[in-house]
């Protein structure tokens, strides 16, 4: 306890020094730009994408088609299913097919409803952050499957967006060998900007610590330009479009 108090004091000392330095740093910038400090928000006439781009919007069928094409072109898998029941069956079948023993899923009511625990009696299905005494990072590291519910998806870039929260771990979409991402079709947007502008509109305090766009399996071409899949993140990624 004394140790952490000492650490807090040290951090406060650093912060005091940093605040003094902040002023000289900013004054230095203004001085080099040969004008007084700018303290009011300047007009920014070129904010965001060009106007013609903002008008582009695809209908649902085209969004699904483009997302599917883009996600597959980088080595991801895409299936479209009618409902959550079918999604549950799909994940259970894949788990049996690949002999997955450890399955970790986010703590969300939609995923509770999948009933994976009942569908896979032989596997160990755990629920993120459901018990304070468990080392959840270790659970994620050993998991064969990570099952998440996407917050958004983007057709133009073929991306899945996941946001962190108490029941939604960042490691669940990162450490397991296989990532299963369920995307309710109504969450699929056309452009990246549609999702990004939402973060500007939310209050800063409302933003999650981690916002992650995932566009396919982890990859590298660092050895002789030879494409390698699954370097650090999941090497197998399923996008399960539902609805």
């Amino acid at each position: 306890m004394a140790n952490s108090r000492e650490h807090e004091a040290w951090l406060q000392e650093l912060e005091a020094a940093s605040r003094v330095k902040q002023r000289t740093f900013m004054d230095g910038i203004a001085g080099k730009l040969k004008r007084p400090r700018v303290t009011e928000a300047p007009a920014h006439p070129y904010r965001g994408a060009p106007d013609f781009w903002r008008e582009m919007e695809w209908d649902e069928e085209e969004r699904v088609q483009r997302f599917t094409d883009n996600f597959k072109s980088v080595g991801g898998h895409v299936v479209r299913l009618a409902g959550m029941e079918e999604a549950s069956r799909f994940i259970a079948d894949k788990a049996q097919e690949m002999s997955a023993h450890y399955i970790l899923r986010q703590q969300e009511s939609e995923l509770d409803a999948l009933g994976l625990e009942a569908a896979l009696p032989e596997a160990q299905v755990s629920v993120w952050n459901s018990d304070p005494d468990t080392d959840w990072k270790a659970r994620a590291a050993e998991a064969d499957f990570g099952v998440v519910l996407a917050d958004y998806a983007v057709a133009y870039t073929g991306s899945i967006t996941v946001l962190s929260a108490a029941g939604k771990g960042r490691t669940v979409s990162l450490l397991p060998t296989v990532l299963m991402a369920i995307i309710p079709v109504e969450r699929l947007r056309t452009r990246l900007g549609e999702v990004l502008t939402g973060f500007d509109q939310a209050e800063r305090e409302q933003l999650p610590a981690g916002i992650h766009f995932i566009s396919g399996p982890s990859r590298s071409a660092d050895i002789e330009n030879d494409l390698t899949i699954g370097v650090h993140g999941p090497g197998i990624v399923y996008a399960i479009l539902v609805g």
Partner: protein, 509 residues
């Protein structure tokens, strides 16, 4: 290890380039990789369409942010602090290293896992960490390979471009304590397993920063492997080093950068991972760092502010497209440039950050001034103009080639006066009779030595353009009054068609 290799590096770009040109594999690998990336960029930008409109938008956003950098950087700092981040400032590389080491010591860290960061390369931070007994592990596959080899990156996007799979297998086998097949899957599989352990046991995760969002205090990382996410999620403490110019105003502006950066770097529509990190883990979160530091680094960047010739350097988004487009880089590779940054951007940035044009005087000459770098740049930085400014500054400060300078002055004196020019040419025509054979001069002495080592200087013509000017002028004046009837009709028809709107207007893909 890395220091030993730096110490034995040849002093000039030319000597380092000679080394690179001797290495057949390196030359082929650089050519192959840059060609692949360049083609990827070309296809991706064409498929996306209206590329020049997007470039212009990217340029405007960067120009606007840098012109108001004090406002946006200050806003970012205030918001990041409100998110619970400990923000620090470093004027110099030394200060940034001291701050990083102080945090590592305070945390009693045994190991640091790092994702790719060009800023930490500027600081030689790995060496400093090892100096206080902290293991620093690069986790980007390419960076890990060159760290094992004790080398520095040779390409900003593909750092181990100069190593073949046999060399890589040898390096990794030593690390594994067993012989690994020179097979990409086997080698990458070993690295995945090895670095998994490192991620899970490390005390500190260290990242760079592609963009920092002023209005929310978030930092943004683009990457393909997932190591950036690992180092910013798994260890208890995160340290991010960012150049002071990485700022953009909003997430909305990020869409433009996310459109330009991956397409320009590798031809991807988006990197596999794009992460926006806003502060340390929330109290209720089950993972993410408990403590987060951001160190804002100047290290020569602010010297470009207010300098009309070089301020736009700060617009750079570090995509590497100028390297892939540069005919010189494609021949000599990255190590020949001798600094942290290579290619056209490195040729300008290295002397600009160091403000010592003299010491780096030959780096600005490692360019043919063809302008391919400007054409490739997603934020339209006029790199070829900057290379000329650098050469001029170098000459102004007395680092030029004296014989060349005298020759240029002499040429100006002669060519500036038509009478002198005529007399000099007459003298040349007489003089060359002694040395010209078969219409060419092959003599390799005096001022002709360098040129004639590889080529033949053509002899001065018996009748020059200047000699015939009087006749030509007369012909032009008389001849232009009468136009051939068929020509006139054709031109009239073209003008008429153009008036009707016709086809072939500006086409956008």
């Amino acid at each position: 290890m890395s220091h030993a290799s730096t110490a034995t590096k040849p002093k000039t770009v030319k000597a380092r380039a000679d080394l690179a040109l001797n290495d057949e594999f390196l030359r082929k690998a650089v050519k192959f990789t840059t060609e692949r990336l360049r083609l990827g960029k070309k296809n991706a930008s064409e498929e996306h369409g209206n590329w020049d409109d997007w470039r212009e938008r990217g340029r405007q956003i960067r120009l606007h942010t840098i012109a108001h950098l004090d406002y946006y950087l200050n806003l970012f700092v205030d918001n990041a602090r409100a998110n619970g981040v400990h923000v620090h400032f470093a004027d110099t590389a030394d200060e940034a290293v001291k701050l990083s080491l102080a945090i590592a010591e305070r945390k009693a860290a045994k190991s640091v896992v790092k994702s790719k960061s060009m800023v930490t390369e500027e600081l030689h931070l790995n060496h400093a960490l090892e100096g206080i007994g902290v293991e620093a592990v690069e986790t980007d596959l390419g960076e890990y390979i060159i760290q094992l080899a004790g080398e520095t990156p040779s390409h900003i996007i593909i750092p181990a471009i100069h190593k073949n799979r046999y060399q890589i297998a040898e390096l990794l086998s030593k690390e594994a304590g067993e012989t690994l097949e020179p097979d990409t899957q086997v080698l990458a599989g070993f690295v995945r397993k090895k670095l998994r352990e490192k991620f899970l046991e490390a005390d500190i995760g260290m990242t760079g920063c592609n963009f920092a969002i002023a209005e929310t205090g978030s930092m943004v990382l683009f990457e393909n492997e997932g190591n950036g996410r690992m180092v910013s999620t798994v260890p208890k403490t995160q340290i991010t080093l960012m150049g002071m110019e990485r700022i953009i105003p909003s997430f909305e502006d990020l869409e433009v950068m996310a459109t330009l950066l991956p397409r320009s770097a590798t031809g991807q529509k988006l990197t596999v991972y794009m992460s926006g990190i806003t502060g340390p883990r929330r109290e209720v979160d089950g993972d993410g760092p408990e403590e987060m530091h951001i160190i804002i680094v100047d290290n020569g960047r602010s010297l470009q502010l207010g300098d009309p010739e070089f301020q736009e350097l700060l617009n750079c988004i570090r995509c590497g497209a100028c390297l892939n487009a540069c005919p010189v880089y494609r021949h000599i590779g990255g190590h020949a440039y001798g600094g942290t940054y290579s290619g056209p951007i490195g040729a300008v940035l290295t002397p600009a950050l160091n403000k010592n044009v003299g010491e780096w005087d030959d780096i600005a000459n490692a360019s043919s001034l063809c302008g391919a770098c400007y054409e490739a740049c997603p934020v339209k930085i006029p790199l070829h103009d900057m290379l000329v400014y650098l050469r001029r500054r170098k000459v102004e400060r007395g680092h030029g080639n004296r014989a060349e300078g005298m020759g240029m002055k002499g040429f100006a004196a002669v060519a500036g006066n038509s009478g002198r020019m005529a007399r000099a040419l007459k003298l040349g025509k007489l003089g060359q009779k002694l040395v010209a054979r078969d219409g060419g001069i092959r003599l390799k002495i005096g001022p002709l030595k360098g040129w004639n080592s590889y080529r033949v200087t053509p002899e001065l013509p018996k009748q020059s353009f200047r000699d015939t000017w009087k006749t030509l002028e007369g012909e032009l004046r008389g001849g232009l009054q009468e136009m051939d009837e068929a020509t006139r009709d054709r031109m009239a028809r073209i003008v008429q068609e153009r008036g009707q709107g016709g086809k072939g207007g500006g086409h956008h893909g």
